[in-house]
């Protein structure tokens, strides 16, 4: 398998008719050295199309970049078109393609998050300091989108291992340290079992609980999809169950929304609660396989899951459901469920058109249940403690518990478990220790980069699904970023729009062109309000997916609530 072929492989077909065979196969030639590298890395792993991104990671991890030779060899080995492999590799930010005439990047890469919270805490300074302090031949310093460490801003990643509240000194230490051990989870399998874990799953698998009963409990609790869309979970399960099998399930762990880090938090504190919820949901919809799509920014969680999942499998708990763990590659758009499905299939993360919905035609063309990590994390608690326990929480007529990722100008940023309907002011004062000294509450992002911006005067609104839409905002993944009088709203809006520009997949015209153009218009000293407003409206109306549709929300909010900062 791994020995090098004696010579460049000749064209596999052709050449036996009268037509002369090509002297060489089409496209880039497969070099024997590159081919044996790829074969060695892949070993006897299946050459399945959907594993393309996994294998690109193998090459990127091993060599630090994807050379044109390796891409050609991988295409050959997987019997894919070279153009296809190249398309996929060039789509994701964590792959570095190096053509023959280019020099590979330095061995080490530092990604400095410059999304909103980190920017507020000095990302630009950090970026400059690092560039000045490090040898560009040895270390590459680049900007990167939100890496889910907004409560420990500014954050950066050495390789993919993150440094929190980063300073050049901390980064240098991290650079020297290298090999990071996968942290043990705060609660591992044994500890989880000890506290009664997996009893619910056992009850399900052994028939002590019916599917309808479980769906009813979830329905009664009013659990909603916590990835951002807030679709009622019980109803989703019923919808998927209605479709003809075989059905599949995907877990969306591509938490990329600026300001969001709750999935990371829950995976960190109690991963098995999530895994149990996942297996229960898979049992409910009778999904024989479940794919967990985890963003590449969380390598320590990936390592942890790689260690913990086999324990679950060994205990026979996944006997009804095969678990796959898939690795993202740096693309916010893959948090959109259909783009994530494309990515799991090994393709570029281009959102699909609806209808059909993924519940009807999803992964590999099968009806698919897609759930966010946190949503599944709550399944066990609700099933065991009952719907009343969950709905017992709530303020301002809203029911249930919500996890807010709070960051920005507060004393104690972090994941806050609060009753649904809590207000931003309460989050600041009651849960996060108030505003930072010297900062006056000026406004907030209720739902990450796409949820719009609201002023302090509207900080008593209940934060929940459906309450903010009338103000052109939404709560989405409950990522609340608190802004103060030290923050210029124009800079905030530009920062958010730049994020969308970087992360637009480029599929549809309004988003591809609109985000780029919006950044340019917004950077001007004085905003051309009618033009920006029209551009925003066209993006909102005409884009395929939520990214383009919501990208203009911050701009619209600024024009509505913070006119003084831009006009």
């Amino acid at each position: 398998m791994s020995q090098a072929p004696a010579e460049i492989r000749k064209h596999a077909r052709g050449g036996e008719g009268r037509r002369k065979a090509r002297a060489q196969p089409k496209g880039r030639q497969v070099e024997p050295g590159a081919l044996s590298d790829v074969q060695a890395l892949l070993g006897d792993k299946p050459r399945q199309r959907d594993l393309l991104i996994e294998y690109l990671h193998l090459i990127q991890d091993r060599f630090g970049h994807l050379s044109a030779e390796h891409l050609a060899a991988l295409a050959y080995e997987m019997k894919l078109a070279q153009a296809e492999v190249y398309e996929v590799a060039s789509f994701y930010a964590h792959f570095d393609i190096v053509r023959e005439d280019e020099t590979p990047p330095p061995a080490q890469t530092i990604r400095v998050c410059d999304s909103l919270s980190c920017e507020m805490f000095g990302a630009q300074t950090l970026l400059k300091d690092l560039e000045a302090a490090l040898d560009p031949k040895k270390v590459r310093v680049i900007r990167a989108p939100c890496m889910g460490a907004c409560d420990k801003a500014p954050a950066c990643a050495v390789g993919h291992e993150q440094v929190f509240q980063a300073t050049p000194e901390k980064v240098k230490t991290a650079l020297a340290a290298h090999h990071h051990e996968a942290p043990k989870p705060k609660k591992d399998y044994a500890a989880y079992i000890a506290e009664g874990g997996y009893t619910l799953l056992g009850d399900c698998l052994d028939g002590r609980l019916t599917r309808d009963d479980l769906i009813k409990r979830i329905d009664d609790a009013g659990l909603r999809g916590l990835g951002g869309a807030g679709f009622p979970t019980g109803r989703k399960w019923k919808l998927v169950r209605q479709e003809k099998g075989p059905r599949l399930m995907c877990v969306n762990g591509d938490e990329g929304e600026v300001g969001t880090f709750k999935d990371r938090h829950y995976l960190d504190i109690d991963p098995h609660r999530f895994l149990e919820g996942m297996l229960v949901a898979a049992w409910v919809v009778e999904a024989a396989e479940v794919y967990i799509y985890l963003r590449d920014e969380y390598p320590e969680l990936r390592a942890m899951l790689l260690a913990e999942i086999p324990k679950v499998e060994a205990a026979g708990l996944s006997r009804a459901t095969k678990i796959h763990l898939r690795r993202g590659a740096g693309a916010y758009i893959c948090g959109e469920e259909s783009a994530m499905i494309e990515s799991i299939e090994g393709k570029r993360g281009l959102p699909r058109h609806r209808p059909p919905y993924v519940a009807q035609v999803g992964l590999f063309g099968r009806p698919t249940l897609v759930q966010n990590i946190e949503t599944l994390w709550w399944v066990r608690d609700i099933a065991e403690k009952g719907a009343d326990w969950f709905t017992g929480h709530g303020r301002r007529d809203r029911k249930g518990l919500r996890s807010f990722s709070v960051s920005g100008r507060v004393k104690k940023p972090g994941v806050v478990l609060a009753p649904a309907g809590v207000s931003a002011r309460e989050l600041v004062e009651e849960f996060c220790g108030g505003m930072l000294d010297g900062h006056v509450f000026k406004g907030y992002l209720p739902g990450g980069a796409s949820g719009g911006i609201l002023p302090e005067s509207m900080s008593d609104l209940p934060l929940d699904f459906g309450t903010l839409e009338q103000y052109g905002c939404f709560v989405g993944s409950h990522a609340v970023v608190i802004l103060s009088d030290k923050d210029n709203m124009k800079d905030v809006a530009i920062n958010l729009m730049r994020f969308f520009e970087d992360e637009s997949c480029g599929q549809c015209t309004p988003c591809r062109v609109g985000t780029e153009k919006a950044v340019k218009l917004m950077a001007k000293p004085k905003w051309d309000e009618p033009l920006i407003a029209e551009l925003s409206q066209a993006m909102t109306d005409a884009s395929i997916c939520g990214l383009g549709q919501a990208a203009a929300n911050p701009v619209k909010s600024v024009l509505k609530h913070f006119r003084g900062d831009v006009l």
Binding site: E16, G17, A81, I333, S504, P510, T515
Partner: protein
Amino acid sequence: MPKLKVDDVEVEVPAGFTVLQACEVAGVEIPRFCYHDRLSIAGNCRMCLVEMEKSPKPIASCAMPAADNMVIKTNTPMAKKARQGVMEFLLINHPLDCPICDQGGECDLQDQAVAYGMDHSRYKENKRAVKDKYMGPLVKTIMTRCIHCTRCVRFATEVAGVEDLGLLYRGENAQITTYLEKAFASELSGNVIDLCPVGALTSKPYAFTARPWELRKTESVDVSDALGSNIRIDVRGNEVLRVLPRLNEDVNEEWISDKARFACDGLKRQRLDRPYVRKNGKLQPASWDEALTVAAEKLKAAGSKAAAIVGDLCDAESMVALKDLMAGLGATSIDCRQDGAKLDASVRGAYLFNAGIAGIEQADAILLIGTNPRAEAPVLSARLRKRFLAGSLKIAAIGPKVEMTFPMENLGAGAPTLAEVAEGRHAFFETLKGAKKPMLIIGQGALRGANGAAVLAAVRSLAEKAGVVKEDWNGFCVLHTAAARVGGLDLGLVPGAGGRDVAGILDGAGRGEVPVVYLLGSDEIDTSKLGSAFVIYQGHHGDAGANRADVILPGAAYTEKNGTYVNTEGRVQLGRLAAFPPGEAREDWKILRALSEKLGQPLPYDNLGQVRRRLVAVNPVFGTLEEAKPGAWGAFGQAGAMGSEPFASPISNFYMTDPISRASPTMAECTSVFLNGQARTGTHG
């Protein structure tokens, strides 16, 4: 059958129709760039937005399935505003270079900009600039104009079956390219020029040549292969500038091969524009009278010993005139099968593509015998791929191992394998037998050898045994490579009683038994075997035949005459005069008519109408245009030993198969790039 309302018009459309298609049914045209009937739906340009009742936002009509009770409004302020917004976005980065763009005048973006664009730009920033890509000698790229509709990528992967194109990177950096700038290696590559809704992909040979409104457009048929693809010939003055496809669902859908499209520059080179007579071993210019007199004298002297060979590009009119002229001499040595294929002219079903090209889409098991459709008929090959993509097709081949655009099993190289299948000793026999609509595609490669008649008989017997020919289905399909062939067979241009076939004529000429050979556009024979025979060549290019000729009578190319062609399915189609023959060259049937006058046996027709009546008299099939029906079935072929020679495709270089394409500089460049691998690198611009 969902029923919905479009702009207050109630329409019922077949299930699976999109809203955009439903709007078309209702007679409303929806602007679009990425959507194309024959490609998968991308839904990325967002130009086709319409308003749908109960939807807060406009919807992309191309990607939305039509459903019952939908209320669609296409002309509301919301829809119009959204389209204007999209149009403005598209124009932000699109260069304002329409005056120097070859797409100008036939550009979707230009046309839609008139309807939805503004008269000025509100965006003052620099436009995005993208480096042009090298896509080979046929397709010119100006990538800054690209609007990322991905039609070209979808065409390449879906129709052409060549995954050479892709959309790299993401967001604003996204760009279309061939994989690392290699030539786009498909025989159908030129179709992306028609598909591109802007001027990003244009024709390289045609670059900066003309504006569409300067061109005279003539509907005609292609002769570069035997499909009879429907084309439009664009002419300025008397010069053919380009060839484009015309829609014909039964034949070529809306594709044509690169040879059909780009070989037209060969019409300007190597032309025979005046008569010649060989004097003292050298061809000397002569008058028509002199040339015809010399030819007539020689023919008269040879009488019944004269022989005639008919080439691949001839129209039926000239063929029937030649047949009548030879009959007047009492000569029976006449043959239209210049490659020596052992086709049987007595049974029409024996030489037609009986199931029809569109019939491929119904077939469920196909066996290719001695053919490489990709080189012999690329558009038909695309139809095979289309059938393959539709699923559950069993397809295999006996003959050359060729690179198709779909997976295909090769059962063996030639006659021995065919015998196995025909005698039911091979598993594929059962596959054919078990199929509802089995199809055998027989190429000339299987029939042109010495044992061609035996091969034909074996295939016939296979067809009967495997149930390929049934009451409502005839899957016996001969794939021809010559545009003139079926017409020639329909007119009976095969040796009569005591007559010689092509091999016999050459043999006889070599031995001095055939004193005069009349070559009607015949250039694919081995002219060195003509010995000392007196050769009269009638044709349009100074190719092999003219080189050996003693008298040259300059004829007209397919673009220069009104001619009838019968395609491989037996479909009778009319080619039309788009430009006049150069110099003193004349329409071919008229030359033969004039020659008959000199012979003292004038042919009984003086105008095109009379020639065509004669065609119908010889074979009534010429009375019905544009239709293809399976031919009559009967006994044909000659059972016997088939030998063990492998079947080879008759075409070794797709780009040069006839006098026109051999004279074409574009086809010469394709040959060097695609066949000899002398691809230029991206740095050559």
